[in-house]
């Protein structure tokens, strides 16, 4: 009994195998570029908008978009699994909003070692060079803009500032907080630190966790301490809505300038209603679209993007103030993310 198949059959089999492999390669190359988008959660309207932007851009550029997310904010394992699945599914570029800026690094390194380009959207990894590039809002600048607005809107009134932050140690929370102080004209830490700056003009600092009800509780407690507050900085628009509710219950909503960050459609509507005086609008759709473009470019030419690209932030206010550039509510509504 011969150990090997007859030579002619073996040669034919080998040729067949080679042909199949070659055609598979050819098919792969002719295929659309595959790009993976991994957000923190599926449900936050910010990420929903990002996914929409990515899907539109992918369709326009003839790319295939795979999308996934963690289950909750902070679910690192879910993001790692999504990344592995997407790479197995042929993704050559991964766009990710990291839930945990440090814990995601090993998975990203594995991906990059395989030749996958990884771009962070909205918030950086720690360190930021863990990814090829970062497309994000300059959160410090977002804070500076609303700080400038608040100072100008306050006019001659004494500055008694309440800061409703996210929670201790969060980089985005620190950047917006410290940016606000800088814009307001107070001594402020720079954009690199995660520490929250303090000043004598701040009469109360409390954590809102970016939540409406918790923001209301934080504002109520601060009002007990500082009933003569004139300015309220809030980390995001749900916290601002909660703060407004607290002020309204105390009958103080008219005399207080509330500023915020995000530019979601609900938030912009609140600017229109006079709940929020001004908000810094950010552009998740742009982040995603730029990410998809970069992914398509990489697939076609092998050229990677690098470094930090500021995706822009615009001040939206119902009433403009002197010396601070802002856009009106209508513009804000046209550009907002979330359901209009």
């Amino acid at each position: 009994m011969t150990r090997f198949p007859a030579a002619p059959t073996a040669a034919r089999l080998a040729a067949l195998a080679a042909a199949l492999a070659a055609s598979a390669f050819a098919a792969q190359a002719a295929d659309e570029p595959v790009i993976g988008l991994i957000t923190k959660t599926e449900t936050n309207p910010f990420f929903v908008k990002m996914k929409e932007g990515a899907a539109e851009a992918a369709k326009a550029k003839g790319a295939k978009l795979l999308s996934g997310a963690g289950k909750t904010d902070g679910d690192n394992a879910g993001q790692v699994t999504a990344m592995e699945n997407m790479i197995a599914g042929g993704a050559k570029t991964i766009l990710i909003t990291p839930s945990d800026s440090k814990a995601i690094l090993p998975a990203i390194k594995k991906a990059r070692d395989k030749g996958v380009m990884v771009i962070a959207l909205d918030s950086p990894t720690d360190p930021a060079d863990g990814t090829d590039a970062l497309f994000a809002t300059d959160n410090y600048k977002a804070g500076v803009l609303i700080g400038q607005y608040a100072k100008a809107a306050l006019g001659a009134k004494p500055a008694k500032i309440v800061m409703l932050d996210l929670f201790p140690g969060h980089p985005v929370g620190a950047q917006r907080h410290n940016g606000f102080l800088k814009g307001f004209g107070l001594a402020a830490p720079d954009a690199k630190t995660n520490e929250l700056g303090k000043d004598a003009a701040i009469v109360c600092m409390a954590d809102s966790f970016g939540d409406r009800a918790k923001g209301q509780t934080a504002m109520e407690n601060c009002l007990q301490k500082a009933p003569d507050v004139t300015v309220v900085y809030t980390i995001n628009e749900p916290a601002a809505a909660g703060a407004y509710n607290a002020l309204k219950k105390a009958g103080k909503e008219k005399g207080v300038v509330i500023v915020s960050v995000d530019g979601g459609c609900e938030g912009v509507a609140n600017v229109g209603k006079g709940v929020i005086a001004a908000t810094s609008q950010q552009y998740p759709l742009k982040m995603a679209a730029m990410g998809v473009e970069a992914g398509v470019e990489y697939a076609k030419t092998g050229k990677k993007v690098s470094g930090y690209t500021d995706t822009g932030v615009t001040l939206i206010a119902a009433t403009a103030v002197a010396g601070v550039e802002s856009k009106d509510v209508k513009t804000g509504t046209d550009l907002c993310w979330g359901k209009k």
């Binding site: 449900t43 934080a218 007990q224």
Partner: protein, 319 residues
Amino acid sequence: MDTSKSKLPPIGQLGPFIALFIACAFFAVTTDHFFSGGNLSLILQQVMVVGVIAIGQTLIILTAGIDLSCGMVMALGSIVMTKLVADMGVPVPIAVLAGIGVTALFGLLNGLLVTRIKLPPFIVTLGTYNIAFAITQLYSGAQTVTELPESMTWLGNTFALGSAQVSYGVVLMIALYLGAWFWLRETGAGRHVYAVGNNPEATRLVGIPTERVLLGVYVLAGVFYGVASLLAVARTGVGDPNAGQTENLDAITAVVLGGTSLFGGRGVILGSLAGAVVVGVLRNGLTLMGVSSVYQVLVTGILVILAVTVDQLSRKASR
């Protein structure tokens, strides 16, 4: 009579109230604004949602169960109530009853899975936590429901009592606690809850329908979550699909701080109210002092360990 048995339980029962007293005394001394009618009544308003959820949670924990879905179910109830009114113009009382009906249904689901399919409450409610969250997000489209009629947020309104502004919702919360306390102490059904938590097998052998008691507890808890939904709407003035995310652990913390044993069969429901208020006092007092919220979390954690330790020690003593 075993003297060691009579030594520890009173501390277990009084513990939360002593802790509350100490916390209030501390903040009264160290800050200017804590000890006023206005501030104290504010704290009660701030804890009324978790407070009412904790009533349901206490009942479940008394049966040696636990409910991780309570916060999400509460959020679902708020969304159901508010969307019915805002989108479909349903009259407020009917919408509120429908919301409570939905939360009671989730209670029924939890109860059936625990009693009929015999699944551990932790796993069951972990599952329904996710299901309730998903349904809330889908049904609301992740949109906050605003423009609600006055009658819906009425429980958030306050009346003056001396220098304090007491909200009707707080009055309701206290009334519900007193009612639950009376029910648990004085009625047969209430005592059956303790019995089931203490020793389900012996209780069953004595002829008490343990499955029915358990099922009833979960459904009743669901009703309380529905009431909490309305209180949440009254407090914030909107239906918020992102509400309730931390309320499950907040409620469990209140129950544990209140001296109810996680192993079932022991606890005074009024303790849960004290537990909820202690957390509110810490949050309010530390903000007034200008101390970072990290310390509030630290102190809460230490208090929880203390409370569970006291419970364990008194269990050992009574054996």
